[in-house]
């Protein structure tokens, strides 16, 4: 499996992603600068976290205009795998590759902490090796992580099994109105979604930051699971 890690000005989780795919999972990993126009035959494209373009205008808005995004769109439309984490999720929403948008957290604070999220659907390449109902514990670090879409869009996402992660408590209970659990106030406690084809996935939490025992909260069975190449 070949992995392209896309780097925009302001991206800061690119080395974490290279560590996961390259060092831990021993997959061929290439960095692709946002001015490039091709993905070097990669199977998986990663849009890592960070603050592309300093979050100017809206988070992810300027990144969608970068030349590399034409290649990313073509890759996604052809069924290629794309994973966007944190700012990467925001870029996918702004690009129209995933529906909805990430608003500012309801508590008006930048949140840097551990959260729990429940695997809701295994209908995506990123969650296919996981089990629905599993609880993943990993960090978040964002100011705009409050997932928003119109009710009709949310209904459609749920109906088609496109909600892949929801914020929950340590026992896997989802409580959308509880700010201690749904920490950023996301609609229906959504933490991550996938495209209809299951090949494009975006989520706010950072599972790539919970893959080493040294840091803790490796998440038991789930630490590296989403990043592993399909069996």
């Amino acid at each position: 499996m070949k992995v392209a890690v896309v780097v925009f000005p302001g991206t800061n989780c690119d080395q974490d992603m290279e560590h996961v795919y390259g060092k831990l999972l021993k997959q061929e990993t290439v960095r692709v600068w946002h001015r490039e126009t091709e993905l070097h035959g990669s199977d998986v494209v990663v849009l890592p976290g960070g603050f592309s373009y300093g979050d100017y205008l809206r988070t992810g808005a300027l990144a969608k205009l970068s030349p590399v995004m034409e290649a990313v769109k073509a890759h996604a439309e052809a069924g290629g795998k794309v994973i966007g984490i944190c700012n990467g999720f925001q870029i996918l929403c702004e690009s129209g590759l995933l529906p909805g948008v990430l608003l500012e957290n309801v508590g008006r604070r930048f949140l840097s902490r551990f959260v729990h999220m429940r695997v809701e659907s295994t209908n995506s390449f990123f969650t296919s090796g996981m089990t629905a109902g599993d609880v993943v514990t990993c960090p978040i670090a964002h100011f705009q992580g409050n997932y928003f879409a119109e009710a009709a869009v949310l209904d459609e996402l749920e109906k088609r099994g496109q909600v892949v992660f929801r914020y929950c408590d340590a026992n896997g209970d989802v409580r959308p109105d509880d700010i201690e659990v749904n920490v950023n106030g996301s609609c229906r406690a959504i933490a991550g979604i996938t495209s209809r084809g299951g090949n494009v996935v975006g989520l706010m939490p950072h599972p790539e930051r919970a893959v080493e025992d040294l840091i803790g909260f490796v998440g038991g069975a789930t630490g590296l699971a989403p990043f592993r190449p399909a069996a």
Binding site: L57, R58, A61, E94, L103, N105, V106, R108, F148
Partner: protein, 80 residues
């Protein structure tokens, strides 16, 4: 041609900036101030074309970048 684009959140979309401003004012006893919504004004110039064509160009960039139709609405004003 010079234009001003006013971008604001659609009614009903949570505006945490507006809420923060409102709460700040409450601390100073401006209790009469309600429903603060924060928008954004973007000024730009269009070169080489004028009138409806220039405005159409501005409308195009509003749709492409300046406003996100999921949460925002925009107005275009000609200023010179």
């Amino acid at each position: 041609m010079k234009y001003q684009v006013l971008v604001r959140l659609k009614p009903g979309v949570l505006d945490v900036q507006g809420k923060a401003v409102e709460n700040g004012l409450k601390d100073k006893q401006f209790d009469a101030i309600k429903n603060v919504r924060v928008g954004r004004v973007i000024e730009l110039e269009v070169d080489g074309v004028a009138g409806a064509e220039a405005k159409a160009r501005v409308d195009e960039v509003c749709k492409l970048l300046l406003a996100n139709p999921v949460i925002e609405q925009y107005e275009i004003k000609e200023v010179a």
